[in-house]
Amino acid sequence: MGGKTDKKLIENGKRWDGRGIKDMRPLKIEAGVLKQANGSALVEWGRNKVLASVYGPREVFPRHMMDPTKGIIKFRYSMAPFSNIDEHSRSGPNRRAQEISKVSRHVFENVVFLEQFPKTMINISCEVLQSDGGTRVAAIIAASVALVDAGIPCKDLVSGVSVGRVNGQLVLDVDKYEDNFGESDIPIVISTRTGEVLLFQADGMLTKEELETAFEWAYEGAAKVREIQEAALRKRYSEAPARD
């Protein structure tokens, strides 16, 4: 956010990559892409590539984290050192990644029936292999599909998209370029069944009206994302051979 560029981000209602203001980038989801993990999913969203894996419910480690009343979730969001178009970055989660991991974990603490699995943990790990803006939402929708692929009972799939503002105009599904040179980024993840907001972050200088529109668009976008998530799971269960 806040960088400067000579390139117009929006001209004649079209964004720099040719999209309209409410067009999302092409989204492809494949469930069950890993052999070892109990569940997995690959999300390709525009140029983003995020791989999510799920293990568990299994024994809690370290043991002092064990909760006798419910299962716990560990969530890791991490960007690979080669994921960025710019320079090589340090491996493993940085401060930004740790914050994202925390709020993403909260999303799944909401939808997973944790009370059914006391004294256990579920590990969700999202590796951003290639990043192009909107990776936290891509990671979360991948993780949601991976959880279902692992057969872990959830109240709902979670779906979402990031809304941003560029050249004073709200746009749906911001990419890296728009995030770098735009004025705002608002990732939103919802449970489409209950309509509840499960993840909301925002930066920029936004009016109440803009936020109202951002929510409206995010809900519309999330509904489209959900269809693709469901299709991926349907495909997984109709075609793939059963796992042990």
Binding site: D86, Q98, V103, H106, A202
Partner: protein, 256 residues
């Protein structure tokens, strides 16, 4: 663990009757005290007492090398330290996720609102001012985010910029006060059994299902937001909280 359950039940029982343990309304802040300039060795400082919560913010300037993609901008950074004396569960060591989240939410609001013009922190090619805001949590009795964001903002308002001379920063000559364009404050709401409560105590935080923090600035602007915790919030609730934080934020900003 058992004590936590007792506290939870107590908070929830009271809330069922629309009450809080300290007698406040659901959308009232505790008493707020802001003292600026409490640490004269820092270039700016402020101690905020919010009810029993105590946070001190210190601002230091250093010489820094600009980020490669922002060669003409100074560096602005917020860090939070949960000191071991502030709460029995705080341990010394590298910052945990709560400390990182708090620092990043405070940072996001101030950065988004362009409170400090980082372009003015430029000195010469390859050399800029680094502006470091460190938030020391001294006593945790709930709602660290709002206390810390007030402390950060008050410390910035108290700051003076050291003069750059002879290849270093002077610690006794200043170019003047730091220019601050806006006053950014955060409002933190907890959702407890479906009820929304502003400025939570530590017991209310234990009982809480989820939290929303919204940073606002003059002119009816929301400049940062963060939803945290297990609970979901309806769209209507989100809009209600946006309205409330704009209204309450104005009151907080006046105290700075």
């Amino acid at each position: 663990m058992i004590l936590d359950e007792v506290k939870k039940t107590y908070v929830k029982d009271l809330l069922r009757h629309g009450k809080r343990a300290d007698g406040r309304g659901l959308l009232d802040y505790r008493d707020i005290k802001i003292e600026k300039g409490v640490l004269p060795n820092a270039e700016g400082s402020a101690m905020v007492t919010l009810g029993g919560t105590k946070v001190v913010a210190g601002v230091k300037f250093d010489l820094a090398v600009p980020f490669k993609d922002r060669p003409e901008e100074g560096i602005f950074m917020v860090n939070a330290e949960f000191t071991p004396g502030a709460h029995p569960e705080f341990e010394a060591g590298p910052p945990g996720e709560n400390s990182i989240e708090l620092a990043r939410v405070v940072d996001r609001g101030i950065r988004s609102a362009e409170v400090v013009d980082v372009k003015k922190l430029f000195i010469e090619e390859g050399k800029v001012y680094g502006l470091f805001v460190d938030l020391y949590i001294l006593d945790h009795l709930g709602n660290l985010t709002d206390a810390a964001s007030m402390a950060a903002m008050a410390a910035l308002l108290d700051s003076k910029v050291p003069k750059y001379e002879k290849e270093q920063l002077s610690r006794d000559k200043y170019t003047g006060p730091l220019e601050v364009s806006k006053r950014v404050v955060t409002c933190t709401f907890e959702k407890i059994d479906g009820k929304l409560v502003l400025d939570p105590t530590v017991e209310e935080e234990i009982a809480s299902d989820g939290r929303v923090t919204l940073a606002s600035a003059e002119g009816g602007l929301i400049v940062a937001g963060q939803k945290s915790g297990r609970a979901g919030f309806s769209r209507e609730e989100m809009m209600q909280l946006i309205d409330l934080s704009l209204e309450k934020g104005r009151e907080l900003a006046e105290k700075l």
